[in-house]
Symmetry: C3
């Protein structure tokens, strides 16, 4: 199954790779429309430029028809068509003959990676620019040059997609990713691909405990707009949440914790990482750089972390043209998908459970205890008895697994045996510590 | 004194060793009757079979007249008379001629210890069985055999003993041990012997601060029945408690903490262990296996730990015929008794005390400070001043001793000096943190 | 500036060194009168002997005219005039001819430092005594000797000085030192010198946030009397406080924490020590020995620690005639002054601040964010964003600096930038955790 799922996700990435995405514009619309073909319930929303979002406003819409640098003989030396990273994001239109020195003032390179085109944007200052590899810069002739950008930057809309999957509870799990990056694969087509696959899985799943709110939006302004519309609801109903980003390569598993650092999001993520081996790493809040920044900001304070394969800014191809389809793989995407699946499966099965007898239950009469007690059987039921010893409803099952030094899976298996014989009941949220935030 | 006390306890163990004890039956009655000769105030209670105790019921009563395996020529090869471990506990009556293969289905051995008879019971499934050393099994002839068990298993009573020693406070210290093991010495005649000696000591002691509730019962069902009758009272009045088990050998000192792990029972036990040298060890709650399981179970949650010499399941003779009178010794029992005495002496003298002046008291005018202050005397009163600096009633004396990096004895000696000159008063419980559990 | 300040403080110490100070008497008055010349607002108070102070009373006043030991030929062998440490503090008058053996009963020496005169007092037992170096004792002739002490010990006053510097808040910072030691330099003329310099600085400073209560008093009884008069006010208004003692040598920086160990006094002191390099050390509360004893005593419980250069009892010259003007230096005093200045500057600038937008603020439009986002600029604003992520008013700026792994200075610089553009506001105390003590 994983290979198929991985191959399918990789195919989506390949289809979406050439599109020029940015904070706004038709590239985002095409991307969301492609995803809506897979997820017909995805709602696509258009927010007018100028709409406020806390301290920010939705920017003007940017679209590009053509952009190139040509030499004196009209040979196009650098062309947006060959790689959309060549054009600095939100470049204004221009059509000029410029000397080489003036051109260089508008060119961004990354000398440390001479064959990489850097990813550069200028969302909030109106200017134009091109991004070239260092090798390309060095091959430029003496000039002069014609620079030509046929772009529009004017009032329009910011576009994003939202999908709600209803479970038994009004408590929600929040999952978000970005659709604002141009031709960059791991950061960020892997997030949309894995989240689309996850949404398919959740829509097909029967008996979800939690509801799921899934967001395909643009970084910073998209998340802030969404928060500005839904903050109250989210603060009352969010149980846990993750940003999915850089989740398609095959080199590492990474976690960026919430600011609080001890929410159920963090505890579940750590449990997942624990079983992913030496490639798994938790980073410090001080090293964050994705939209967990907005979801945990002062006054927002939602329990949202980021689960990743190789963390943004920690892999060599990050934010350059080298982050292409060769960085991600079916296997890498499937690994990211499985990591998310494990997190969700733990959340869905976790809970506060209470043994409904006083003292230890008599397991023998329920077939859960060896019939003769010998030296050999002494340790057989140790884990089972350890889990039972904590089942007074105070701690959730995940915390009990940690205390008992066993995996969540083992603890859950024990719980199931106890459930089958009617020994445990889940304590529902309204009765549980009404005084606390729901996500602790 | 210790040698005499140890010799006396060892004598009790020797007298009680041959008796066939189990969850119920005349062996328990004989054992309790023997102890009542030493402790005339011991109340012996008989609880009818079928009486509920939370999730459990008091089982039928089991008694044995005879049990043996004979060969074709009526030679008794294995006889309950020579060692009561030969008969599996709660074996039903049988009188049959069986082939060897059928016999072997009913035989328990411990191949890893070829000369040891294992201790095996079947309290909750009606069946019969014999326990043999591996060497005995290998020496069996070809058969057939006559197996003969003259036992009764029918409605009767479970028997246990309770002793209450009244102190100044209604707050209680709880001490429990087992009388349900057949001919096993460390586990479990050492517990009854040490607890009997401790009860004698407490009855003779003038001015007890706490009341003491002492229980000689049978494992699991005995403790659960007792809890089912007294839970409310215990939850309101228990200050601390210990199970005494495996407390008569001379190899180690061990502690099994409460589930909470930070009750006064735990803190006192750690203080005692600290001064017992490198032989002393605290185990993890995950390794428990005695009735601290019941006393700390979900919904029960009493501050009861276990103090031991070599912990059950951690010494080679455990639960085999090798756990005989050679495993325990007068010296080993005396060491266990002294450990309990230290714990009780700390509890009795511990408390929340408050200096009744503001600022440091003037110790000079009370003869508690050197009259001339010189370079040399600077450190003389350091411990005294350190203890005083914490005497605002917030922490108990044991916690203060730990903060001051001195033993409880040293802290208590300082307290006594301050008491004599009227500088400190104990804060009584009702005034102290009425909001907390009494045992924190 | 530091050299000038250090030289000035050293001059004050040199002027004050010869005066014979004790708990009471004209030496204390001369010292305070000298300081009042520098700090005209210093209020000098006279408290009658016999006045109660919690468990203590103000002692009789002690003054000395002359004191010596002479041989048979009236040669003065030992004279108070040559070193006031020769006379045990609070010695009663005497004029006798004594044999050598009787004389030796009244002589204190320090054999481990044969050329040092020890500092000895007898405040609470009426007796007389002389302090000699071991070398001087060994050079004494066979005797007899005439011992002559012309002292008075009778009802009079205890004298101390208090200075109040008003800031914007009624919350106070408390600074105290001693004026009760005779010719001892580091312990204790360094404290009065540094505190005088600090008072000058604070009086000159515009826009103080806190009020400052400065105390030049005598150890133990002086502090206790002050507390007995002001306890209620101090418990409600003290934000932080330090005893200044042994703060003039050049060998170390030391901190004695409050009993609580986690007050703002402790956190500020640790931040200061952190940037003073490997010479800086925090001691344990168990090693205290100055008036933090009184300020933290049971029932008093004020957030007062001690900042020092070489801690009392930890440097070889302590409490002997070797603690003379060669132990302190302009540089050592300036170092102590600067340490205090840093502590106060942190306190004055610390506070609970809140970002007044939801979500991350848009720093770009305020000139606080690079205009183009590239691979290179990614980490540029990391510290700024980290500080912002914690600015929800929950933690004070000092705690945020520690979480962000930057110095308080760096955090404050970031805060200033945010303040200038109107993004943060300080949360005033009355709104802040009214339920807590002010000093947490």
């Amino acid at each position: 199954m994983n290979v198929d799922i991985g191959t399918e996700m990789y195919g989506w990435c390949r289809d979406l790779f050439p599109i020029n995405r940015s904070l706004t514009g038709d590239g985002v619309r095409q991307t969301l429309s492609y995803l809506k073909n897979i997820l017909p319930d995805l709602e696509i929303r258009e927010i007018p430029s100028g709409t406020p979002a806390f301290d920010w406003v939705v920017p003007e819409e940017w679209n590009v028809s053509e952009a190139w640098i040509a030499d004196e003989n009209q040979n196009r030396l650098i062309d947006f068509k060959s790689n959309n990273l060549h054009l600095m994001g939100y470049s204004i239109p221009v059509d000029e003959i410029v000397e080489k020195s003036e051109l260089l003032d508008h060119i961004h390179t990354l000398p440390s990676k001479p064959n990489a085109i850097p990813f550069v944007t200028s969302y909030y200052k109106r200017q134009w620019g091109f991004c070239l590899s260092q090798n390309q810069v060095e091959a430029l002739p003496a000039g002069p040059f014609r620079v030509y950008i046929d772009s529009t930057l004017r009032p329009g809309h910011m576009t994003y997609g939202e999908l709600f999957i209803k479970g038994a509870s009004t408590k929600e799990i929040f999952l978000a990713t970005y659709v604002c990056h141009p031709s960059l694969a791991n950061n960020e087509l892997s997030g949309p691909a894995v989240l689309t696959q996850l949404a398919k899985y959740l829509q097909a799943k029967v008996g979800l405990k939690y509801s799921y709110r899934i967001l395909f939006t643009v970084e910073t302004i998209g998340s802030l707009y969404f928060l500005s519309q839904n903050l109250d609801w989210l603060q009352r109903n969010l149980k846990a949440g993750w940003v999915l980003t850089c989740i398609g390569d095959d080199r590492a598993y990474s976690y960026m914790p919430t600011r609080n650092g001890n929410t159920v999001t963090d505890r579940v993520s750590r449990q997942v990482l624990k079983h992913l081996g030496p490639k798994a790493k938790e980073y410090s809040w001080l090293e964050r750089g994705s939209d967990e920044r907005q979801f945990n900001a002062p006054g927002i304070n939602l329990p949202v972390g980021s689960l990743m394969r190789s963390k943004y800014a920690e892999y060599p191809e990050y934010h350059t043209s080298l982050d292409d389809l060769s960085v991600i793989s079916p296997n890498g995407l499937a690994g990211g998908f499985n990591m998310m699946l494990q997190a969700i499966d733990i959340l869905e099965r976790n809970g506060h459970y209470r043994i409904n007898v006083l003292g230890e239950p008599q397991l023998g009469k329920r077939g859960l205890y060896p019939e003769t007690s010998t030296h050999e059987t002494f340790n057989m039921v140790k884990n089972q008895m350890n889990v039972i010893s904590y089942l007074d409803g105070e701690l959730d099952l995940l915390a009990i697994a940690e205390l008992c030094e066993i995996s969540f899976e083992e603890a859950y298996e024990i719980l199931q045996k106890l459930k089958i014989v009617g020994l445990v009941a889940e304590i529902q949220y309204p009765l549980l510590r009404a005084r606390h935030f729901s996500w602790l």
